[in-house]
C-alpha cells in the first residue's frame, strides 16, 4: 500500500519557490507515495518564535497540529521548518505529528538513497545549520546526491559554517550577515560548481541573492528539484 504523506510546503516555498514543492510531489509520487497538500496550512511560526514573538508563534504551532494531526508522515522541503516543528513546537505545548525534512524521509522512512534521478551538472551542497544541528540529518543529502546519475558532486569547503541568513538576523544585523555571506560565496565559487544546492530555500534565497547580485553565474537549486529530475523529465532552469 502506498505510504500516505502530507506535504508541508512551508510559507516561503509555497509563495516564492513553487517549483520546489512541485518537485517534492513528483519525487514522492515516483517513489510510490500518495501525497496530500492540506490547503489550510500556512506557517510554522519560526520567524515569530526566533525573533522573540513567542506568544504569536503559539497559535501557529496549534494550527500546524490541527492541520497535520491526522497524518502519519509530514514532509517538508526545509530542515529549518521541520526543526521548528519537531524541536520547538513541543515547548509551546503542542504534540506535533511526525514531521521530516525531505532527505531524512527518503533515507530513514522510505529507505532509499538512489531515487533514480538524473542531473548532468556540477553541484556543490550547503548542508544548512538546522538540518545539521537541530535535526542531525548528517550525510543523508550527500548520499542522495552521490546516487544521482550524471551529477558531478564537489565538496563545499567549510560547509558547516552558517551562510548568515538566520531569519530576521539578515536584516537586524545586515552587515554581519553580509560578511558571513561573503565567505560562503567565496567557498561556493572556489568549487567551480554551476549549481548550489541545499535542503532549505531560505538559505538558498540568501546565498543565491548574493550570487545573483554579483552575477556570479551559480544557480541555487533545491535538493528536491535535483532529485525529481530524470532523463525523461529533466530539470529545466526557470528564467
Amino acid at each position: 500500500m502506498a505510504v500516505k504523506v502530507a506535504l508541508f510546503a512551508t510559507c516561503l516555498t509555497d509563495t516564492f519557490f513553487p517549483e520546489t514543492a512541485r518537485a517534492v510531489v513528483r519525487l514522492l509520487e515516483r517513489l510510490g507515495c500518495s501525497v496530500e497538500f492540506p490547503l489550510d496550512q500556512t506557517c510554522c511560526g519560526q520567524m515569530h518564535f526566533n525573533t522573540g514573538y513567542r506568544e504569536h508563534s503559539k497559535p501557529l504551532a496549534r494550527k500546524y497540529t490541527d492541520v497535520f494531526g491526522g497524518y502519519d508522515y509530514v514532509v517538508a522541503p526545509s530542515g529549518s521548518c521541520a526543526g521548528m516543528v519537531r524541536e520547538i513546537h513541543p515547548t509551546l505545548g503542542e504534540s506535533p505529528p511526525r514531521t521530516f525534512e525531505l532527505a531524512e524521509f527518503l533515507v530513514d522512512v522510505l529507505g532509499v538513497t538512489d531515487v533514480g534521478a538524473w542531473f548532468p551538472h556540477r553541484v556543490t551542497y550547503h548542508p544548512t545549520c538546522h538540518s545539521l544541528r537541530m535535526l542531525g540529518v548528517g550525510d543523508k543529502p550527500m548520499a542522495l546526491l552521490r546516487s544521482v546519475k550524471g551529477l558531478d558532486l564537489v565538496e563545499l569547503p567549510d560547509s558547516t559554517q552558517c551562510c548568515g541568513f538566520g531569519g530576521t538576523f539578515a536584516v537586524k544585523n545586515a552587515e554581519t550577515s553580509t560578511a558571513m555571506l561573503a565567505d560562503k560565496m567565496r567557498c561556493v565559487l572556489d568549487t567551480g560548481a554551476e549549481v548550489l544546492s541545499a535542503g532549505d530555500n531560505s538559505c538558498l534565497m540568501h546565498i543565491g541573492g548574493g550570487l545573483s547580485r554579483l552575477r556570479a553565474g551559480v544557480r541555487p537549486v533545491h535538493l528536491a528539484e535535483i532529485l525529481a529530475s530524470t532523463e525523461e523529465d529533466p530539470w529545466r532552469a526557470t528564467p
Binding site: A9, D14, T15, L39, Q41, H48, G52, M205, G209, R213
Partner: protein
C-alpha cells in the same frame, strides 16, 4: 545602584559596533586565522575522547546540582576555607567587591599588585577601581598584558589579545617596555618574561580568579598555560581570590570531569601545563594570608530564570567563541563586554539585568541561531534556546514598536489560510518591481536585505494555487 561594569560605559549596540569592526581588515584577517586554527585543534582533541558526550552530560549535571544547592554549598565553602586559615568576604555587586579588594590592598600597604588572568575581576572592573584608589595592578598573563599595555580592551575570554597579530604586539612592547624586540613569538615571550620576572619577585600581594572551588575541602583551583599564575599564587605574602558564586563544585571528585572538559575545549590541550590548587593557608609555604571574595553581581537574579540560569554553568572555555561565525567576523569588542561571543550574548544581558539597556537588548540578537555554540559547549548550555528566550524578554520590555505591530499583523495573517492566500496574491504583484527575474532594491526595512542581496521575483502562481488548479 551603581551601573554594572560588565558592559563598558558608552559602548554602542551590537549592530553598530559590528559595522565598525567589520571594516577593519586587519582584525578580520587576525580572527579568521586564529579562530580557524583553534577550531581545528579543538575538534581533534575532542575526537580523541570516546566518552566526550558522557563527560558533557556529567559536566551539565554537576553544574546544575551546584546551582540548585548554591545556598548550602557556599556556606560549606566558607566554613572549609575559614577552617584552613582563609578569610571569606561576600560582595553583592562590583562596587562592593572592588571596595573589599582595595581595602585589603591598603591594609597590606601595597602600591602594586600582580594579577593572574581572571574574568571575574575583569567583569567588575577591578583594575580601574584599584588604579583610582592608588593601587596599580599588573596583568601577568601574556595576552592580558598585551591588552593592558596597549590601553586596549579584551576581545576573547581565553586570549584577550586575539585581535592583535605579532607585529602589532611588537609595536606595543617596544613602546611600553622601552625595549628592542623582534616579532618572533619566542622573542616577544622573552620580553614579557623579563618584564614580569622582577614584578613577581618584588610584589607582596597577588590577585587571582578561580576556575573552580571545592566546597567540601575549601580548595581553590586555577588552570593556566604560562606559569605566571603559579608565580602569583606562590610567591607573594598575600593572595586575594575573586570568584563568582557559581564557580563551585561539591567535591574533589567532581574536578575529574572538568579537568578533562576544560583544557580540550579551551586550548585544545589534553592537559593544561599548570594546574594550581591551594587550600587556605599552609604555614611556611606560599602566601600566608588568603582572602576569598565571593561575588554575586547579577548571578542570583540570573538564577531565578529557569531557562536563562544555564548560562551559570559556563566554565569560561571559549569554545563557543571560536566556532561562532558572528564572533569570527565582528571580534569580541563589538559585544561591549568582557564576555563576548555566544556566551556573552546570553550572560551579559542577564548580569546587567535590565533589558531596557540598548546594548544588553541588542546582544541576544547577535546570532544567526546556527547552533555551532551548543554543539561544542562542554557543559551543554543550549545557547540558541536561551537566546530566543531572552529575545522574548527584550520584546516584552520594548512594548509597542513598529516591528511588534508588523509581527502582530503577520501572525494575524498566518492564522487564517484565506488571509494568507490573499496576502500571497497581493505580494505577488511585487513581481512588477522585478527585472530579469529579480528585485534589486526595496524600501526600508527591505533595503536591509537588498543592500547586498537580490530578491527573487515572486512567481505568478503560488504552489497552493497550482495545487488547487491541478490537484484540488
Amino acid at each position: 545602584m551603581a551601573r554594572n561594569p560588565v558592559t563598558w560605559l558608552g559602548s554602542p549596540t551590537f549592530p553598530k559596533a559590528a559595522k565598525t569592526a567589520l571594516a577593519d581588515t586587519q582584525l578580520r584577517q587576525n580572527l579568521r586565522k586564529a579562530t580557524g586554527t583553534i577550531r581545528g585543534r579543538r575538534a581533534a582533541a575532542v575526537a580523541e575522547m570516546t566518552d566526550w558526550e558522557q563527560l558533557r552530560v556529567a559536566g551539565e549535571q554537576i553544574k546544575d546540582d551546584v546551582l540548585a544547592r548554591l545556598d548550602t554549598l557556599l556556606v560549606q565553602l566558607e566554613e572549609s576555607v575559614t577552617a584552613r586559615g582563609g578569610t571569606v568576604h561576600w560582595a553583592r555587586d562590583a562596587e562592593e567587591a572592588n571596595r573589599i579588594v582595595l581595602d585589603l590592598c591598603r591594609a597590606e600597604d601595597a602600591q602594586e599588585v600582580v594579577k593572574v588572568k581572571s574574568m571575574a575581576t575583569a567583569e567588575i572592573g577591578l583594575n580601574e577601581a584599584l588604579e583610582a584608589g592608588g593601587v596599580h595592578a599588573i596583568e601577568t598573563d601574556l595576552a592580558e598584558l598585551i591588552v593592558q599595555l596597549g590601553d586596549d580592551r579584551p576581545s576573547h575570554i581565553l586570549v584577550p589579545a586575539i585581535h592583535r597579530n605579532r607585529s602589532e604586539i611588537r609595536e606595543i612592547f617596544q613602546r611600553r617596555m622601552g625595549v628592542e624586540v623582534s616579532d618572533e613569538p619566542a622573542d616577544l615571550a622573552e620580553a614579557a618574561r623579563s618584564y614580569l620576572r622582577q614584578k613577581f619577585l618584588t610584589t607582596k600581594v597577588a590577585i587571582s580568579g578561580a576556575n573552580f572551588a571545592v566546597a567540601d575541602t575549601g580548595s581553590i583551583v586555577v588552570l593556566e598555560s604560562e606559569g605566571n599564575g603559579r608565580m602569583c599564587l606562590t610567591l607573594p605574602d598575600t593572595l586575594i581570590t575573586v570568584m563568582g558564586i557559581e564557580k563551585l563544585v561539591p567535591s574533589w571528585q567532581d574536578l575529574e570531569v572538568f579537568l578533562q572538559l576544560l583544557p580540550r575545549s579551551s586550548t585544545a590541550e589534553r592537559m593544561n601545563p599548570y594546574t594550581s590548587v591551594w587550600t587556605g593557608v599552609t604555614p611556611g609555604d606560599g602566601p600566608q594570608r588568603f582572602h576569598l571574595v565571593l561575588i554575586d553581581n547579577g548571578r542570583t537574579a540570573t538564577l531565578k530564570d529557569s531557562v536563562g540560569r544555564q548560562a551559570l554553568r559556563c566554565i569560561r572555555c571559549s569554545a563557543c567563541l571560536n566556532v561562532c561565525p558572528v564572533y569570527e567576523r565582528t571580534g569580541g569588542q563589538s559585544y561591549g563586554s568582557v564576555y563576548p561571543g555566544p556566551i556573552g550574548a546570553i550572560l551579559t544581558p542577564q548580569l546587567v539585568g535590565d533589558l531596557h539597556d540598548p546594548l544588553a537588548a541588542s546582544l541576544p540578537y547577535a546570532s544567526s541561531l546556527c547552533g555551532a555554540c551548543f554543539e561544542v559547549c562542554p557543559v551543554r548550555i543550549d545557547i540558541p534556546s536561551v537566546l530566543t528566550h531572552l529575545r522574548a524578554e527584550v520584546v516584552a520590555a520594548k512594548g509597542r514598536t513598529p516591528e511588534s505591530i508588523a509581527m502582530a499583523a503577520a501572525a494575524w495573517m498566518f492564522a487564517s489560510a484565506s488571509r494568507y492566500e490573499k496576502a500571497q496574491k497581493a505580494g505577488s504583484l511585487a513581481r512588477f518591481l522585478a527585472k530579469d527575474g529579480k528585485i534589486t532594491s526595496l524600501p526600508w526595512p527591505g533595503s536591509k536585505w537588498t543592500s547586498s542581496r537580490d530578491v527573487p521575483a515572486p512567481p505568478k502562481e503560488s504552489f497552493r494555487a497550482w495545487w488547487r488548479k491541478n490537484r484540488g
